[in-house]
Symmetry: C3
Subunit: 471 residues, 3 copies
Amino acid sequence: MPTLPQLKFTGAVVEARLGSRGTAAPSASSRGSKPSSPTAALTPRAAYTEIWEQYNYDQLDCAGASVSRTTIRSNGLYLPVYSNAARLTYVVEGECVHSEVIPGCPETYQAFQQPGQQYRGGAAGEQQQQGSRADEHQKVRRLKRGDIVATPPGFVQWFYNDGNTDLVLVTLLDTANSQNQLDNQDRAFFLAGNPQRAQEPREAEQKQGAEVNYNNIFSGFADEILQEVLGTSRETVERVKGRNDYRGHIILVRHGLEMIKPLSYQEEEQQRHQLTNGFEETICTARLRENMANPARADVYNPQAGYIRNVNRLNLPVLGYLYLSAERGVLYRNAIYAPHWNLYSHSIIYATRGSARVQIVGNQQRQSLFDGQLRQGQMIVVPQNFAVTAQAGSNGFEWISFKTGDNAISQSLAGKTSVFRGLPVDMLASMYQISRQEALKIKYNRGDELAIFPQGCRPQRAMIRNLRRDA
Amino acid sequence: MPTLPQLKFTGAVVEARLGSRGTAAPSASSRGSKPSSPTAALTPRAAYTEIWEQYNYDQLDCAGASVSRTTIRSNGLYLPVYSNAARLTYVVEGECVHSEVIPGCPETYQAFQQPGQQYRGGAAGEQQQQGSRADEHQKVRRLKRGDIVATPPGFVQWFYNDGNTDLVLVTLLDTANSQNQLDNQDRAFFLAGNPQRAQEPREAEQKQGAEVNYNNIFSGFADEILQEVLGTSRETVERVKGRNDYRGHIILVRHGLEMIKPLSYQEEEQQRHQLTNGFEETICTARLRENMANPARADVYNPQAGYIRNVNRLNLPVLGYLYLSAERGVLYRNAIYAPHWNLYSHSIIYATRGSARVQIVGNQQRQSLFDGQLRQGQMIVVPQNFAVTAQAGSNGFEWISFKTGDNAISQSLAGKTSVFRGLPVDMLASMYQISRQEALKIKYNRGDELAIFPQGCRPQRAMIRNLRRDA
Amino acid sequence: MPTLPQLKFTGAVVEARLGSRGTAAPSASSRGSKPSSPTAALTPRAAYTEIWEQYNYDQLDCAGASVSRTTIRSNGLYLPVYSNAARLTYVVEGECVHSEVIPGCPETYQAFQQPGQQYRGGAAGEQQQQGSRADEHQKVRRLKRGDIVATPPGFVQWFYNDGNTDLVLVTLLDTANSQNQLDNQDRAFFLAGNPQRAQEPREAEQKQGAEVNYNNIFSGFADEILQEVLGTSRETVERVKGRNDYRGHIILVRHGLEMIKPLSYQEEEQQRHQLTNGFEETICTARLRENMANPARADVYNPQAGYIRNVNRLNLPVLGYLYLSAERGVLYRNAIYAPHWNLYSHSIIYATRGSARVQIVGNQQRQSLFDGQLRQGQMIVVPQNFAVTAQAGSNGFEWISFKTGDNAISQSLAGKTSVFRGLPVDMLASMYQISRQEALKIKYNRGDELAIFPQGCRPQRAMIRNLRRDA
């Protein structure tokens, strides 16, 4: 009998740790600044980026995506970059301002120029020639903890930490996206800096005197052409090309960054609700951000178990364009997320806080694909159609789950929307060789609870309690 | 001169035969119950599933699909299952009831509970606690010979043969579907039973004492979690996990199965036509079934040659969602299906009755890719753009053809819609170095017949007869 | 540290040269008639087809497309053919008539039959039997220099050079198209002739007496079936199958070809504008042609630098169906096309006239991927997200660029729509470690010019001039 080819998905959590020299976990590869060997060349150390590359992890390779975690210090600027991957970025900690430059869209953030006002640093003579032009640029938005932001392939984006604490971002880099025609690797194209140079400082040191290995998108163009099309001097062209720039891809802005800042987060949200109805989006005004942390907007809420929020093409339309969605969840101590499977997507779970016992079950293994702890800072992939459950540990469990489809509906194996509810009781009895009475139990006993269950309470009472709360 | 890489499509019919030990054709691989080695563990033998796996057959691998044939005895229940493949199932023989559990959709089939009515088997005490709840479940539909039913990936479905004769189903398992992100193999996830256990009974016997190889979707979860989320006993959990269940994936329901049965087929159809207009579908009320056997609904009908019926996204909208379509045809004795090619799909032909001489022609071979008999129970793949013709044998020919595209339009090389009709006569004469008179002949001689031709009649008369019938 | 897998794109121009024996460039492979060995069997030499096959060129393989160049002599007919690739054909030189046979669509070009009129060559007796039927066929359109025409996979098309000069066509063969389910190679299915036979005449000569290697779509079918379905004689069937036909895939029509010719180009255009509004297309009336050469319709126009015209799904809706678009450009002497990248497509540039210094820059290389001359008759691939610039040589530069996406938007690195315009000035200063004054320069100095810049003029003045012209 021919054997069914093995699925390459393997159950394993993967972890990346920030740290000083030598503490990097062997399972973690990094890009950008290499945690295991920070060097003087990188000071001031503005940030780290750690990346789970899909070519290093079978499970990510199967899912067609990479995941990165970036930590940006106060006043750190993640240099403008675009890539071939569709990106979803979730803010784990801190706050920042963020912008995406959308091709062909107008500069809608404009400074009102006061009479006599001048840009600092301009010589008076040149100032006249340039005109005392007020700055204008594309929309800048504020991001805070719990926000998710979507970036289509090819759009330039940047993050600037204007807060006082570290900013931690976790990003899905979806290269299996149909809009990516390049290859299966996430390829970052920076507009400035010298990112490859920063990766391997020691190698560069060894090659002292050798040609510098610079690498932003301008670096390969001829000086004379850049000088012509930018209308600038040869010295500026050298700067643009990042020659002798050792700062890496995240730089420290020593004296802060001036720009036309967005309104406060609250005002921004209010303005949005006044101005849009969710359908009147054009590409230039598309909403790219959604906050997932507010329990008041939860899709599933159980005061004893926790809450879950989804964003998808219905509540964040740009996701329909990127074929992605996301789920954020909070489980209280010992609470259980009922076993369920995703119909049209993989699910890439990153633990943002606490820990949980996670079980993943396929159709081919004698035991589960994975049965173990998923702890803060770790990640695991749940393949499409595979069933998964999680039981929070004693400190609860919080996660962000990136889903590789915009219609990432799931089917539960227990509770109110259980698959058992759709099957005749008599069939359940036959299927499992149990009595009708037992079949009724597994069909209806937890039948008024949705998706998440508090642990240890007696089912009958829980049902009644929840019913009352629903009413 | 560089050689064009060979296309992997190979012309060969593949065949699976039901039978007792030792009669299975070497070209047939099977799954579920293995025809070549039925054992006592499988009694009562409720069913067979034979499968043409795409990894065993080059032509199916190129088409990105597998095909299975399942025979279910009277009172046999094909256990609830979902998979990563989009499925089209055609009923070759017999009748059954069928259901798909659609995530998030309501249980619309409800039993009206009579006062005092109780479920059988329930102890009086528990009955009170459960409430004398009437059963309800999702829609159940009746299937009969000639029906086709569509199943999206991830939807749980089951079949129950409540008739008196064998039920024979032929199913396309389309894994090249864009909704499948898993891999290229059809992977079945059962909700109950122990399907792998049944596949290799002898192997299991040899390993007596070794850990049992159970394998439904619940089997890998921890007992304590299942007990909690199902609100049931440890004994029931053992049953749900299918431990020590040797019945395979199709089980015999000894005393029949009670459920809220659908209306009669005719009433169901009438109700549908009253309630829907073909466009008012939501995912919960989507029509999933269409009968293809009725000659009165044929798309092409020739009283001397046979008839052809197509289902596609226009008359069964769910197919637009699955990117699939199908064609069912009947050719009378010696009649010919004109040479034609499919523009946007492969065509996977399964012979349901009789036989035909089939010819398939590509662009690379000196002779045809295939020229031979296709007989009842055999299958062949016609690649996209390859031309195919069929001439029925002396007992006629009936087939179902699964097409791997929802806009599976075809272009004929002869008859009313022939490609010749679109070309200038003068060009035909130059192309083939023939006289204009001959060019007129090949353009118009069979020009009033559509797709299928009776054999041996004189063209001119046939044209006239058909014209009259058309009027 | 793990190395990022290398992208397979390699920077190289590829070139095919027409010529007599022995002059073919080693980098050019050809199909159809082999330029390096034209033989007596091919006389009268009606045409050449040269092809850059994707399996021979890494860069085309990555882009998922092949490119061909066909030269057809006066009175040459490119025999009716369909393929698995979506095609875009650009007319480099000459003019012709062209038709696509769309399955299921009516024959809308009808000859009005005069009383007593007869087709030439018909015997009187047969003529009566056939009826004195006037010819009718599908739409024929006129193509001239600068036209582009779109052909969906599986549609039969032909070209007939009814002009007095050579006709030169350059065609994109897009096999990565989602409508192609066959494989990654362009596979041509001819309705007539004997194309493979013509490819290797010497081989055939060596095998004298061996079975003839014929190969049109009819060639593999049984004679008796073709005779039946075409209603014709065995002799005609032999002709249709192309037995002993040594003319290749482009034939010379010695005395011209009669057909219902289209109106003049001008009348056709006018008629189109009267009859359609760009949205009232059905598949049978879909507009398939667009002229890209008229500067008056340019999207970008600079009287000192040149002009650029795009066709995409918005101005030629069939391209939305094929997921393709195209750009045609003209650069005057020494003018520069500003560095830019394509967000959702590769760009396959074919130089139709003159030459340019082309630079292509990725994110991985120390230097540019390519920096060299692209000359008339050469082709190069610019991968998605890679930045490209071109500076015309002293004779200017003209090109056609095929793009593998229907929303092939690009982002410029300089000028009016530069990415710099979307970024705050203060950020530019930090990014590049330059003064605000310098940042203002690179943001605004060439800020009123769009995409193409004349060379050598002083930026400030150019800005003013262009502003005046815009007003």
